[in-house]
Amino acid sequence: MNLWRYVIWRVLTMVPTLVLISALVFVIIELPPGDYFESYLAELKALGETADLAEIEQLRTRYHFDEPMPVRYLYWVGGMLHGDFGYSFEYRLPVSDVVGDRLWLTVMLSFVTIVFTWVIAFPIGIYSATHQYSWGDYGLTLVGMIGISVPNFVLAIVLMYFANIWFGTSIGNLMDQKFLGQPMSWDKFTSILDHLWIPVIIIGSAGTAGMIRRLRANLLDELRKQYVVTARAKGMKSVPLLLKYPLRMSLNFFVSDIGSILPSIISGAEVVAIVLSLETTGPMLIKALQSQDMYLAGSFLMFLAFLTVIGMLVSDIALAFLDPRIRLGGDSTK
């Protein structure tokens, strides 16, 4: 198989994947019993409030709540194909209008988090692999693991609380209140930086341990190979030796990781973002799921899944460029 045929084949396989994903997403948003209006009425009742029942009835019929599930699925998928992502009952806006700035903040948060993860994981991973079973190895691995051992939401609350006590950082959000809805300025930017480090540390540290572990394992494998032993025997110094081949080889997994790291960062970010009340997409998604704002939740999930599928595609293709063995595999010889 040549490279281009591989790329085309890989792109084509996305189609059934996306169809399957859309079906699964629809099941997810339909699975919980009840619907948005039930949950809305119940919430108001708990507050002792009342709602406009006539308007709810209208919305119910307009959005085919009386039709069976497969029909609604077709309405939804059909709408998405020509750019109609449905209607958010909670926001009373078309879904495409709801997301707003949140997407950019999410992208920024994810990007900074990935960079943070790499910056931390890289040196620790190399050190651990080259000094296996030393106390430094244990110590640094332990540091790397703290992040995954504390449940994110607890860590978030604790960090947020002490950041407020010690540094006076305002509780929650990605910026001080007064900058909400303001155009970007230097003050707003520094305010974002003041708040950004908490979620970045929490979300990033959760991924760091995994990254360190994979880098360490990959490097250890490489370091045991014949060519390394040979080079060492010939008297090559260890640092250039390390940089020359083993490190490069083990870098492949950074590329292959992009696809899998994205959903995990987004997943990890959701709970943290809820706790910290971040203006990212995570809390919006979870809230939509919990209140059964089905089109908002569904289109959102579809979008995230689409991003991930693209991420996997890109990383697969990049790997195929880097490592020809990949694109040759996959076929049974029998």
Partner: protein, 633 residues
């Protein structure tokens, strides 16, 4: 900081230019726009006869204009609190819950069914267009009775005895609604947190109505607003209970300036608001009201770090200690207001549950009385409310003119011996080896009590009650349900017993509807099927088969057609007596407290008050437009 500085600058400017003005200088906020001719000056913006709020007579101090109130909300939807707290109504409650004209100059009621409403001369919408009888006519004739809009006729809120009212436009400042039979719910509905709508800003909306507007322009607006047709367009543009359309003219003290979606919603004072203080200063005092969206869980923490200037949404009694500690660090103060629920947490047996064995047990008044007597309310009060709540049956609070101590005391003392005796008499006298009572059909009395699963308070109360009930040989198993399936499960009879709030409005007067005391709607957890029967006029649900419940329904019908307050008082009294005697719901404690946090500079916010949805409209009856910022503090 920026806002304050800008306001100061504006104040300085207006002082310099405004020296020549008469006694009532205009609010500084509009000084620039008045100077540029964009707005008329204050005297021209007020109605000829504004509503004068005499603050000194209310025991408050008249203040000065200016300042911004920041508050936190748990989601974008919660901007609905703005018109509730703003509380500009045609007719509204005062602090003693008496009805009084607010937007209206006055109103007359004849035979309890003919309502004549007089508008204020020169009253204007927030966009400066006159507010006149035409706004009522346009709403009634072109929307409410428009069969495109409402194919089945006007919404049920306007229907009394099966018929809508007759609308008459008497003159530009007078309209009349007349029903065939007395309609006592009309005025309370106008005064409700979401007031019954009788008028819309016609000048703004007419261009979007096919009868008045240009078809092409409407079609373009339909596309631009991403709606399906002109009906949805009008609905969207005219929605006022969630102020999402900054262009929609309003009569509220603050008008929205932010289109969703946003994380911060800014409301600005209405230049044409119809209330003034005794010194002739136009209300509201506060210039801007800013709502910041946050996660509901973080509201207490953010409030405790001084990020809110006026907060009750999202705060709970359990947050009090944290908030009180914040008083030492931040310039805020915490007050405890009284919630108006009939019971903070109530046990609600389902008289309509599908299980035959349980239904007959739950319908036995002796069982319900026994369960009420078994609850140790003092323990609940001490453990969860620091002893600050009041042990009581689920009934009215002493603040209500209809309250009698015997309602609260009914079967609410802790008396497990009597409870055991009552259960024995009710046929639950057999017990298993572990001492658990058996139903007449031989099953053990394991009661699954479902809660909507949102509040730990409910599960905590249940934990305590579980021990209390064990002493009378009943076993309860708390389960938290999804609250969106709660209602349908109750209606389907799958719930045997639930735990929920008590009466929503326990400070009722005789003029308010006693619908909570009778089966009137299908979300009443003690009798969902009977409520559904009433709601659907007998097409769904089941007719009540207990004589006392049927009596409640009859009494409620009688109230709906009563013409005098005396008659209503008598009806209320009998309904309260039946409820106290029959123990349809089992209250625990009421009068529980709600923290209200305010910035130290905020004046005129009472130190205590009643807080709830209907009738107090949260802060509404306490007139937040009279709160002001004391710049000196």
């Amino acid at each position: 900081m920026i806002t304050r500085r800008r306001t100061m600058a504006l104040m300085g400017a207006s002082l310099a230019t405004g020296l020549g003005h008469a006694v009532h200088a205009d609010t500084d906020y509009f000084a620039a726009r008045v100077a540029s001719g964009e707005l008329p000056d204050m005297a021209a913006r007020l109605p000829v006869n504004p509503r004068v709020v005499n603050l000194a007579a209310m025991g408050r101090e008249p203040g000065q204009s200016g300042g911004t109130i920041r508050t936190l909300i748990g989601g974008q939807r919660d901007i609905r609190y703005m018109p509730i707290n703003g509380y500009a109504r045609l007719v509204g409650y005062d602090m003693a819950l008496n009805l009084q004209a607010d937007i209206l100059a006055s109103f007359e009621v004849v035979e309890g069914r003919i309502y004549t409403l007089h508008l204020r001369e020169g009253h204007r919408w927030s966009d400066g267009n006159p507010f006149t009888a035409e706004d009522f006519r346009f709403f009634w004739e072109d929307i409410a009775t428009n069969t495109d809009f409402y194919p089945d006729g006007p919404p049920t809120d306007y229907i009394v005895g099966g018929k809508p009212p007759t609308f008459e436009l008497i003159d530009p400042l007078t309209v009349r609604f007349s029903w065939d039979s007395p309609s006592p719910e009309f005025l309370p509905k106008l005064a409700a947190p979401v007031g019954l709508r009788l008028m819309v800003p016609s000048t703004y909306l007419k261009p979007f109505h096919p009868k008045y507007g240009d078809a092409d322009a409407i079609a373009a607006a339909v596309v631009a607003q991403k709606v399906d047709d002109w009906i949805a367009l009008l609905q969207k543009l005219a929605r006022s209970n969630r102020p999402e359309n900054p262009d929609l003219p309003s009569l509220e003290p603050w008008v929205p300036r932010t289109s969703p979606p946003a994380e911060q919603f800014v409301f600005e004072r209405n230049p044409y608001f119809h209330r003034v203080d005794e010194n002739g200063v136009q209300l509201p005092y506060i210039d801007r009201y800013v709502m910041n969206v946050s996660t509901a869980d973080l509201i207490p923490a953010k409030t405790a770090t001084g990020e809110s200037d006026l907060q009750f949404v999202g705060l709970d009694f359990t947050d009090f200690t944290l908030l009180k500690q914040a008083e030492d660090i931040h310039p805020v103060r915490v007050a405890l207001w009284k919630r108006i629920q009939g019971s903070r947490v109530a046990l609600i047996p389902n008289l309509n549950c599908a299980d035959d064995g349980w239904r007959s047990v739950m319908q036995d008044v002796r069982v319900r009385r026994a369960m009420s007597l078994a609850v140790d309310r003092d323990e609940i009060n001490a453990a969860l409310f620091y002893g600050l709540a009041v042990p009581s049956a689920n009934t009215l609070l002493p603040e209500s003119p209809l309250f009698k101590p015997e309602y609260a005391a009914a079967y609410s003392s802790y008396d497990p011996d009597t409870a055991n005796r009552l259960l024995d008499e009710a046929g639950l006298d057999k017990r298993d080896a572990a001492g658990l009572r058996l139903l007449p059909d031989g099953r053990p009395t394991n009661i699954i009590v479902e809660s909507s699963g949102e509040s730990t308070l409910e599960t905590d109360v249940l934990e305590l009650i579980r021990d209390h009930f064990r002493r009378i040989g009943l076993a309860i198993f708390p389960r938290s349900s999804e609250r969106d399936v709660f209602r349908s499960r109750a209606l389907g009879g799958q719930i045997v017993m639930s735990v929920f709030n008590g009466l929503d409005n326990a400070v009722a007067t005789a003029d308010m509807s006693p619908s909570e005391l009778a089966p009137t709607i299908d979300d009443q957890l003690q009798w969902p099927l009977w409520g559904s029967y009433f709601l659907s006029n007998g097409t769904q649900g089941k007719a009540p088969d207990l004589p006392q419940v049927q009596r409640l329904v009859d009494l409620f019908y009688a109230w709906q057609t009563s013409a005098s307050t005396e008659a209503r008082t008598a009806i209320w009294t009998e309904m309260l007596e039946i409820n106290a005697d029959q123990m349809y719901t089992i209250g625990t404690v009421n009068g529980s407290l709600q923290p209200v946090v305010a910035a130290n500079w905020l004046r005129n916010l009472p130190d205590d008050g009643l807080i709830g949805y209907d009738p107090t409209s949260y802060l509404g009856i306490y007139l937040p437009d009279t709160f002001w910022k004391d710049a000196a503090s």
